[in-house]
């Protein structure tokens, strides 16, 4: 087996699918990303499929995941996208998967090398 036998797929290059699992949350995140310092009420108007309470709980998930930040403004909480921290975590996890698969290809090479060495020794 040649050393450059491992082929890289297009999916690996683009590191696809670093997406949020829940479609409603993706929509909420888009609304937060499009606005600036958005309130729960403003988000609920733009995402009519779910109620205000549901928007709040989705925001909580996004906030705990570090995807949005919030600040208090009088009676309101205003939300904006926390791009840096969240992107770093997502990038780290994506890298981990990529390294994991890269290790597989090296492990595969090591295995086949040791097999062929073994054969040479036994001849």
């Amino acid at each position: 087996m040649s050393t450059n036998a491992v082929k890289t797929s297009s999916a690996e290059q683009s590191l696809a699918l670093d997406a949020l699992a829940d479609p409603t949350r993706r929509e909420i995140l888009q609304v937060v990303a499009a606005g600036e310092d958005t309130t729960v009420g403003e988000i609920a108007e733009r995402v009519p499929a779910v109620g205000r309470t549901a928007v709040s709980s989705h925001l909580r998930v996004l906030r705990v995941a570090g995807l949005v930040t919030d600040r208090r403004d009088g009676r309101f909480r205003r939300y904006s996208v926390n791009t840096r921290a969240a992107a770093e975590v997502m990038e780290f996890l994506s890298d981990l998967l990529r390294i994991s698969l890269a290790d597989l290809s090296t492990a595969d090479r090591r295995e086949s090398d040791s097999k062929s060495n073994g054969q040479r020794r036994t001849r």
């Binding site: 699992a21 829940d22 705990v64 998967l97 994991s100 597989l104």
Partner: protein, 480 residues
Amino acid sequence: MGSVVLADDQVIDAPPSEVFGLFGRSRERGWLFGATCDEVRPGSVIRLLIPMGNRFGGEVLEGTGRIVAVEPNRRIVLNQETPWRGTLTCTIRPEGKAQSRVRVVAEVPEDALAWLLRRGGGDATDPGDPEAWPVGLLVSQSGPASVFAGASVELARLAIDEVNADGRVAGRYLRLEVGDDGTDPKRGAAELRRLVERCDCRVVITNVISSTFSAIARIAERAGVLLIYSPVNEGGPCGQGLFRFGERPLNQLRGSIPRLMRATGGRRWYLAGNNYCWPKTTNRSARRIIERSGGTVVGTRYEALGRRQFEPLLEDIAQSGAELIVSTFIGGDEVEFERQCYEYGLRDRCQTIALALDEATRDHVGDAAGAGLWSPFGYFEQLATSANRQFIERYRSRVGPCAPPVSSLSESVYEAVHLHALAARKAHSWEPDAVGRALEGGVFDGPRGRVAVRDPSMVDQGMFLARSVVGGLKVHDQIA
């Protein structure tokens, strides 16, 4: 609870059977987070090596998990338990004549993302429901002690749900806040401060090693926080809001050392463990009991936490002519020590009492290397009481059949939540002083039988000696 899903795939120049065959074999770095295991079958424990990258501290962290499902040459599903919870699904499909497309999908729940953000120095503290009373839990989700931390968080949640199901306590429902000490006193101190300052916890239950407890005790005392050390420990400063619930070395060893000497005829003991306060204090008790029982100590040696090369120690044990060993290694270190003892051939001449060998640690030691190991604790998952059977059923129905096992170390967290909630109910108050006063004399009839808080330094409880058998730990005898 929400989660994030990530996926990646790659074409490998080998057929699926060959790719599948590589799983779990590399002891350095392999694929799927460097997973290693003794057997590729559902239920098998796996060890993971996770390179954290510069942004997250740069270390290579050890993780643990379990195989959930296996379809040979096609699919493997793993539950990751530490350092964060999650699921990894790997599918292998033939690609062309001699290649495979390997796809990995990682599902990472929101509390795991919060853990990662904190690890990167960010603030990911959930303000939670302000009406609910925050109960802090400090555990080792990373580092050597994480091997036995797997079930602690889920058991704390179970206890909190049970308490809440009985209605408000002193006017409040409870909620859980979790901190990770990383088996490191400094990180433990920082996490305790976060639990107190950011999460408003005025009670914190800790299932960490005693060097972390020593580092956080004073911080808790100054902050007026009630601190409960729930697992096995060597004793030490108590009172002023500090409680120690776990088994003591004397209670673990008093019954087991003479029994093992009678059972094996051995008299020569070697004391080996990690280099910090619990092993050293434990071995002072061990030496006294051994000498009183007519035995002798032929060697004592301590190794730094995280040290995994035990050859010089194994040679020393072999040369000492020891017939019996007291092991005070913990978590990942205990796993490696026992596996290396076995590989070195020490099992043929030595039996071992291991004081931190709980069910989770035993799973990672494995059946073969586990033969000849004995473990004294106040609780084992296999205890045949109806209270325990029902408790295990409740735990398994929440977390599934492939969840980490329950052990004395993790079950102690469940009891601590109940005992302190009973105290708050009795005191009609969540003020730490009032809860502390009501905690003394508190009694809880739970999975390990009756436990009674004698005073801040001691909980009275039964004691059992278990033996490592094929499949796990089997209770051999009640020793107190």
